[in-house]
């Protein structure tokens, strides 16, 4: 039997494939059923927050920051309540990260303010002496991609049934409405900031990346 297989590349490949494929499925399927339920009270992100999340991804913040608090005392003391699977139900993609060159950010919205982020993103070492984080001044001039954030949300709604436009959930509406809403949210953030250039841009109807990013970071609770 074995000898037969050794000399037939096709059946050999089939056998090889089954061997390799099977383990994955049997291990993953039960978890799939479990993990997709959101925790009670979890809301999908607003457009502005999604745009901020895209900035987070664009600049690979997840290369150095995790968003996963493990159930150890040392971690809950430092970062807050440990993470629950259902809190990530609307995260596409997930942003757990795999390395903490910087601290965890899963609940950073609980203990950092708009002002803190504003100063920190401009010059991290000025806020936290000894920090090795790069400066991100370009976020104060680059514009956040609100249109793609809208496409992102409406794809989530259309394809995956993420509960936008439902009672008590963030509103999506048409592109025009969504844009107006995102700008209104941005104005709120900008009013707490002190950078005049950013304030001017938002007043002129443009949303810099930093505003969206802060909206996203503040939503991490």
């Amino acid at each position: 039997m074995f000898h037969w297989l050794e000399q037939r590349p096709f059946f050999f490949a089939v056998m090889l494939f089954l061997t390799v494929a099977f383990a994955g499925f049997i291990e993953i399927i039960p978890d799939f059923a479990k993990a997709s339920q959101p925790v009670v009270g979890k809301k999908p992100s607003t457009i502005l927050q999604l745009a901020g999340r895209q900035v987070y991804i664009k600049d690979s913040c997840n290369a150095c920051h995790s968003q996963l608090i493990r159930p150890f005392k040392a971690e809950t003391d430092r970062y807050g309540m440990y993470s629950l699977s259902g809190e990530y139900a609307y995260d596409r993609p997930f942003l757990w990260g795999s390395k903490r060159t910087g601290p965890d950010l899963h609940r950073v919205g609980n203990y950092r303010t708009t002002e803190w982020h504003e100063n920190h993103m401009m010059d991290p070492a000025a806020v936290v002496p000894g920090s090795i984080m790069p400066k991100y001044p370009h976020m104060f001039t680059n514009l956040a991609d609100i249109a793609t954030a809208y496409a992102n949300a409406s794809t989530q709604k259309a394809v995956f049934g993420t509960p936008y436009d439902q009672k008590g959930m963030p509103k999506l509406g048409t592109w025009k409405e969504a844009k107006a809403q995102a700008l209104a949210d941005a104005k709120k953030i900008a009013s707490e900031m002190k950078n005049q250039q950013v304030k001017d841009m938002v007043a002129a109807g443009k949303v810099p990346e930093i505003v969206a990013l802060i909206a996203y970071l503040n939503s991490l609770k």
Binding site: F2, I26, E27, P30, A33, K34
Partner: protein
């Protein structure tokens, strides 16, 4: 189906597959050992596939000759 049931199925699945693979694997090991021992098949000669790999050297176990219609 509840999640408990799925876990149970996965658990039993994992156990029996590991058992099956375990038996297959050591069955294979034994079959190799036996075939070499009884001289039914010499596995070690396949090392020569590397040592003797120029295009004009004679194949160790040639496939059908070119003139045959099978190949």
């Amino acid at each position: 189906m509840s999640q408990e049931t799925l876990f149970t199925i996965a658990g039993y699945g994992k156990f029996f597959i590991t058992l099956f693979i375990f038996i297959m694997f050591y069955g294979y090991a034994y079959s190799i050992y036996k075939r070499q021992k009884t001289g039914e098949k010499d596995f070690e000669k396949y090392s020569n596939l590397v040592l003797n790999d120029s295009l004009d050297s004679t194949p160790l176990e040639p496939r059908y000759r070119k003139q045959d219609k099978n190949d």
